[in-house]
């Protein structure tokens, strides 16, 4: 399983890629997609929606089940990856390219982990 060093990770298995301009891309981790199985649907928020750290902002569905995707930080949705809705399998195939939203006006980012910390965390959890 792959956990790129340049990303930050949440305890509920989302990744964050901080940009130099203070915005951040958000998606679900390789571990999350592996646990969820074949993903066939994603329900995305709209641009302008607010993100509350630790609260659901999207949901994904595998053939078998629905799972919430939590916001790993607080902020506002600047941009939504609408293409993901047409190709939900991208979350399985390339989880770190399959971003859900680009967040801006980021306030709270508490509790995010580095790749090493996240790997240790899932080893313990799994």
């Amino acid at each position: 399983m792959n956990f790129p060093k340049e990303l930050k990770y949440s305890r509920t298995h989302e990744w964050v890629r901080f940009q130099e301009d203070g915005t951040a891309y958000i998606g679900i981790t390789d571990y999350a997609q592996d646990q969820l199985g074949d993903l066939v649907f994603v329900n995305l928020p709209a641009a302008g929606d607010s993100l509350q750290a630790g609260e659901a902002f999207a949901d994904v569905e595998s053939v078998k089940a629905v799972s919430d995707v939590n916001a790993p930080l607080s902020g506002t949705v600047k941009e939504v990856n609408d293409a993901l809705a047409d190709a939900p399998e991208k979350m399985n195939e390339a989880p770190y390219d399959a971003w859900f939203v680009l967040a801006e006006e980021i306030t709270e980012t508490d509790g995010l982990m580095t790749a090493e910390e996240y790997e240790a965390f899932i080893a313990e959890e799994g």
């Binding site: 074949d38 649907f41 053939v63 629905v66």
Partner: protein, 361 residues
């Protein structure tokens, strides 16, 4: 409660099965291949399923046909040796105790296959309602069962056994046949909507048979498939699953299984209640999502601004390529083409009533 293991438990771990609880057993929901590939394998090539969790019961004795006709809604009076026949089993209220398959072995010996989660209930029910000379024996522990399903199933099976050991007709079985040296009941049945076989064998030989089949099907790209694909396949094929489309309170008439209820045969358990009920107020339908969203079980169905029923199963169906559900709704809305809305976690998704099954080979 301690979870039971089938004789293939070790094989599943070896094959990378993701194990979950089902019907009191620890079973693979999928392997590393995932539900979609497993589902597609069964539609386009072949898949291998462990269905050893199913229960097997032998009924034998001179009064067995009479008892089957009284216990079950279908008619068992005329059957050939090796023939299989599906039936609901009703309670006195016309609800469904279980749905099952009865094989006539030979003479007055019958082999009954029941759902894993209902096995104890069924055996108790059958024992409590048989009369005269019929011995009831629960042989579930001594049998393993493997389903080989898909258009290439026959080709794979043929590598391990002679032509004469392969039943030609659907819903027939051959007893006491050698498949790769393993003694089996070879049945041309399944729960996927694709062609295929169910092989019953001694519990101790099940793993050997599993390995032989996987090896024989290498060229055909046979892969092990879990309960996840089994569920999406049966849904696509419009087949009811007990606990969803059937239950103690859902009658076979409501579930659209009237074909398997022979009202003009002699008395059977539940007949009076079904007669009194007449045409049920609700019926089972297929729903195809028109809007975006995946319907799941127990979601409310609306039409004309009011609630008309509830979904009983729902998922994204990989082969037909759209989200589909089965639902039990007011009969007046059961006509194909009717527009309905399904409450998918607070969001109304547009759907259309369609004729079942969604997929037919």
């Amino acid at each position: 409660m301690e979870l039971k293991h089938t004789p293939l438990y070790e094989a599943h771990l070896r094959c990378g099965g993701k194990m979950v609880e089902f019907g009191g057993f620890e079973m693979p929901v999928q392997y590393r291949t995932g539900v979609i590939r497993e589902h597609m394998a069964v539609r386009t090539a072949c898949g291998l399923f462990d269905v050893s969790h199913m229960g097997e019961v032998i009924l034998q004795g001179p009064d067995t046909v009479r008892n089957l006709n009284r216990l079950l809604t279908n008619d068992y009076t005329v059957m050939e040796d090796g023939q299989a026949r599906y039936s609901p089993m009703c309670n006195e209220q016309g609800g469904t105790v279980d749905d099952l398959i009865v094989y006539k072995v030979a003479g007055d010996r019958y082999f009954v296959v029941v759902n894993a989660s209902n096995r104890e209930k069924d055996v108790a029910w059958i024992r409590a309602h048989v009369s005269g000379e019929t011995a009831v024996e629960d042989v579930s522990e001594s049998y393993g069962q493997i389903a080989l399903q898909g258009p290439l199933a026959e080709r794979i099976l043929r590598k391990l056994t002679a032509e004469e050991n392969i039943p030609r007709k659907n819903y027939t079985a051959l007893w006491d046949r050698s498949v790769g040296g393993v003694n089996c009941i070879v049945s041309r049945t399944g729960y996927t909507g694709s062609d295929g076989f169910e092989l019953y064998t001694h519990a101790k030989d099940t793993e050997k048979l599993w390995d032989l089949l996987l090896e024989a099907g290498r060229e055909e790209e046979l892969i092990p498939c879990g309960l996840g694909a089994r569920d999406t396949l049966r849904l696509e094929a419009g087949m009811p699953l007990y606990g969803h489309e059937l239950s103690d309170t859902i009658s076979p008439m409501t579930a659209g299984l009237g074909y398997f209820v022979k009202m003009n045969k002699e008395d059977f358990i539940g007949k009076a209640a079904l007669e009194t009920a007449g045409v049920p107020a609700q019926c089972r339908v297929g729903l195809k999502a028109v809007g975006r969203g995946i319907m799941r079980e127990h979601q409310d169905v609306y039409a004309d601004g009011r609630k008309i029923g509830q979904t009983t199963s729902g998922t994204h169906c990989p082969y037909i390529g759209y989200p589909a559900a089965m639902a039990i709704i007011d009969r007046g809305y059961g006509i194909p083409g009717t527009a309905v809305q399904v409450d998918v976690r607070g969001r109304l998704v547009e759907a259309e009533v369609v004729k079942l099954p969604f997929y037919k080979r």
